[in-house]
């Protein structure tokens, strides 16, 4: 099987400081990769480089045989609204707050050329249902939604064009635990049903335990350990990973 995404020696510095360095991995279709680490460990920098929001200093990000670092911007932006999806930590960054829920979901469809109002609206209704938002909220603005609903709306808006790769930056950050649990359940279902590949950045080990097949642990811009999720979490080798795992509060 061909990898969907090949990351080779990504390095990004901010002046003299290291954002992330020497990151390489392959991601196969249908696989979910978790990236964990403390604040400032470079995981968000890495995600930005992978998703094309930031330009890495060196290295290659090869998606489906094409290097997204060197490809022309129109092509990269086309990828970003068709084959890729990006779920922001704060739904306000990923949603248009002044546009109704239906319009938010429909935007990606219209961006790739949908010009039939009825079809767009039906698809939007269908997707709101899939993320457990009532169809009668379709004309409400995201500002009238709760935090959890906003996050689910953002996910619907991203998945509506059937992407193959989803980048998620702390998708459950800022949500209370019961809402987190429902969101994770929903995400797991969607990822499995649609056969998505995903890269999830988080500092919540429970999230990766539930969603990720493989895990990468970062510290100070370096990858200190990677492997199967259960293997890394149950038998951590690196001192930092051991610290991370032992720091989880038990209820």
């Amino acid at each position: 099987m061909q990898p969907l995404l090949q990351v080779q020696n990504i390095r990004k510095t901010y002046g003299a400081r290291i954002g992330c360095t020497d990151v390489s991995f392959d991601l196969y279709p249908g696989e979910v990769m978790g990236i964990v680490g403390e604040s400032g460990s470079g995981k968000s920098t890495l995600l930005s480089c992978l998703a094309g929001h930031a330009q890495p200093d060196t290295g290659a990000v090869i998606f489906d045989g094409r290097d997204t670092v060197t490809m022309a911007e129109p092509e990269r932006r086309m990828l970003a609204r068709t084959d890729w999806a990006y779920v922001h930590q704060n739904p306000r960054d990923g949603l248009r707050m002044g546009v109704s829920a239906g319009g938010n979901v429909g935007e990606r469809l219209m961006a790739v050329g949908a010009r039939n109002y009825g079809t767009i609206r039906d698809t939007a209704t269908d997707w709101l249902g899939r993320v457990e938002i009532n169809a009668d909220r379709i004309d409400d603005r995201p500002s009238q939604f709760s935090g959890g609903m906003q996050q689910r709306l953002q996910i619907a808006r991203n998945l509506v064009t059937g992407p193959r790769l989803v980048f998620m930056d702390e998708p459950t950050g800022g949500l209370d635990v019961s809402v987190q649990a429902r969101l994770l359940d929903l995400l797991r279902g969607l990822v499995r049903r649609m056969g998505l590949s995903a890269i999830i950045v988080t500092h919540d080990l429970a999230v990766v335990r539930l969603l990720a097949d493989r895990l990468m642990v970062m510290k100070g811009g370096h990858v200190v350990e990677q492997g199967l999720t259960d293997q890394v979490l149950d038998d951590p080798q690196h001192a930092y990973t051991q610290l991370l795992v032992s720091s989880v509060l038990q209820v």
Partner: protein, 282 residues
């Protein structure tokens, strides 16, 4: 330099100095070469407030020659404040002939209307534009809207129309209705009623758009294809008040609703005063 000028003045012909006019003409040439593309230009401060047509006035000044016949309209009328003051301005600074008859004019500066009478080859229509960027209220960042034009990412424009239908059951945008020029640039046609949109397409006259405060010029050369954006199942419709003109009886013109007393009486009259008068005289 001491060419005899009637009536005036220490002003250079048409107020602006020749270097400025040359700068504006360069922008105009570029705008004509790329229909619908917004060309930045070094807009000057004019002796009138922003929002009163400073962009249109500069474009008119750059196009005006002593032999031109100028017509100025504001919402279709020749006798409203904005039209009167701009007409006077050019009479005083350029000493050109002016007219109220659309057919006689070589340059027509307009605020928010296209004359009802068909324009002809050789005529120039100058629009006053408050906000040239059609994507502005959807995307506040100028860097981003430029990129969207560059990459032809116009999905967002349809989001606005989608919102209209979702909220009002139809496309409720009635003026400044976005258009696509020659299948490439999405353009704000200035706040003309959408009734006028079909006249933008394949028009034999040259149409120039000037936005003074926003420092942008754009253009539609004669016979440019201009399509109003819409959905397959909600096609564009050039709407007007469902009425005939109460003065000339015309049923095919854009109408103003005029309140005539405080007990609810009203009348509908042509917004194009010249067209209405011509019909009455005929």
């Amino acid at each position: 330099m001491n060419a005899p000028q009637k009536n005036t003045t220490e002003y250079n012909f048409a107020y602006l100095d020749e270097d400025t006019k040359r700068m504006i003409r360069r922008a105009l040439l570029k705008a004509v070469a790329i229909p619908g593309y917004q060309v930045p230009f070094a807009s000057r401060e004019m002796p009138m407030p922003y929002g009163w047509g400073t962009g249109g006035v500069q474009v008119t000044a750059a196009c005006l020659t002593p032999d031109d016949v100028l017509k100025v309209i504001d919402q279709g009328a020749d006798d409203t404040t904005n039209a009167v003051s701009i007409r006077k301005f050019f009479q005083r600074t350029a000493d050109v002939d002016v007219t109220e008859r659309t057919a006689d004019a070589t340059i027509i500066q307009t605020r928010h209307r296209i004359p009802e009478a068909a324009l002809t080859e050789g005529q120039i229509l100058v629009f006053q534009v408050p906000i040239p960027e059609p994507l502005r209220f959807l995307e506040p960042r100028e860097t981003e809207t430029r990129k969207m034009h560059e990459l032809e990412e116009y999905g967002l424009m349809h989001v606005k129309l989608y919102e209209d239908i979702a909220k009002h059951g139809q496309i409720a945008t009635a003026y400044a209705y976005p258009v696509k020029v020659e299948g490439r640039y999405v353009m704000d046609p200035s706040p003309i009623p959408k009734f006028d949109n079909p006249k933008l397409s394949d028009n034999p006259a040259l149409m120039l758009f000037g936005a003074g405060r926003e420092q942008r010029i754009y253009a539609l050369p004669p016979h440019t294809k201009v399509a109003s954006l819409d959905f397959e199942d909600h096609p564009f419709e050039a709407s007007k008040a469902n009425h005939n003109c109460d003065i000339c009886g015309a049923g095919d013109t854009y109408l103003d609703e005029v309140i005539t007393d405080d007990r609810g009486s009203r009348m509908f009259v042509c917004s194009d005063t010249d067209h209405c008068r011509t019909r009455q005289e005929a």
